[in-house]
Symmetry: C2
Subunit: 197 residues, 2 copies
DNA sequence: CGGATGACAGATATTGAAATCTGTCACCTG
DNA sequence: CAGGTGACAGATTTCAATATCTGTCATCCG
């Protein structure tokens, strides 16, 4: 009946939603559009997601989790000294965000809006995931004697906050300005020096 | 003729503009409103400011400069060691912004909008002023042997950017959350440690 | 004559009626 | 009978007509 008449799964709906969001932007993407893209009635979409907000939340979480997974690889990578691991983790976060912003500006702008309007919990869980990863790196650094701190978790949050400028979508416009790379390195340098014993 | 029939000066217009902005907000504050508040025709306002944008720019600059002046006192204050001076300067910046945001939320929100829509130069000059002050503090710190850095100006920018979260109006909502004070101190602690020889 | 005025043209914002969307649910259909 | 449908009520958005505002300037006034 429809062009893609496989069974309707949450995953297929999320894919269609992302496509509709990319095409129409956050303001004009409707549940009806998503249903149309899937060749089903909008009632069917509501069978998988209770509200439009829940759908947007799910698609946002999916997007944020992709970054979390990339960074987890750096936490787990063997053979890095703690200092290098922190540098690479922060650089990877910056690079991932910058790539998203540059490669598909429409979609990035869309998700930037979604993260501000979506339920606070999705974003704060994402931040908790990321600072959790950083905490692990710092903790290992302290254990091996490379770093000093009273409390790895507090220090991890400080590292994350001090680098907000280089991962908060709010600053995305400035990520293509010349000199940002230098600013990033100067901040990281200062922070790494602050971590050292 | 009007309730306040002194001569019409740029300063009086700026005062009236701030009042109109506080009352009506940035979206609904018009040049006609400002003229009405002063008991003159809007043509007279255009005699002092070429455009509405120029008027908004001037009132924004005036607002930003007030903070710059407060902080200049800390740069010049005698008898502070460099580390304390950095701590106090950053704390004063945070405190000044937080006070503005808390004491008069309407006006603060208004100026937050103005700084995003106003000509880039006003804001970047403000930032240049502030990082200039920080550069001076860092430079003295290096000269007295308290700090190490290749380039005080770069380091000053890094200090400013690493603390964006605690002075960028974008984050104002989070300045009243519990724990912000702790986050601020953790970031400053890390940065100060990074400055030390 | 220096400074203020208000009528005016084009740009921008407001408003309210019509169109669309969200979320529900009784009813299909394979 | 599990999964899908589409009509429906209330909420939200769109659109075009109307009102207001911006910026200019010929004219006025002390």
């Amino acid at each position: 009946m429809s062009p893609t008449s496989q069974t309707l799964t949450a995953e297929r709906i999320l894919e269609a939603t992302e496509e509709v969001l990319r095409r129409h932007g956050p303001a004009k993407a409707t549940v009806v559009d998503v249903a149309r893209a899937l060749g089903v009635s909008h009632g069917s979409v509501y069978r998988h997601f209770r509200t439009k907000a829940a759908l947007r939340e799910a698609v946002t979480k999916r997007w944020l989790d992709r970054t979390t997974q990339v960074l987890a690889a750096i936490v787990a990578a063997p053979g890095l000294d703690p200092e290098t691991r922190v540098r690479e983790w922060l650089a990877a976060l910056f690079a991932a965000k910058r790539r998203k912003a540059f490669d598909d500006p429409e979609l990035f702008a869309t998700y930037s809006v979604l993260t501000t309007e979506t339920a606070e919990t999705v974003v704060s869980e994402h931040i908790a995931d990321l600072t959790g990863q950083l905490t692990e790196i710092v903790r290992v650094g302290v254990d091996t004697g490379a770093f000093t701190t009273d409390d790895p978790a507090t220090t991890a949050v400080a590292l994350f906050r001090a680098t907000d400028r280089f991962h908060d979508p709010h600053y995305a416009r400035e990520w293509e300005l010349p000199g940002v790379e230098g600013e990033f390195e100067a901040v990281v340098e200062l922070l790494i020096r602050g971590l050292r014993r």
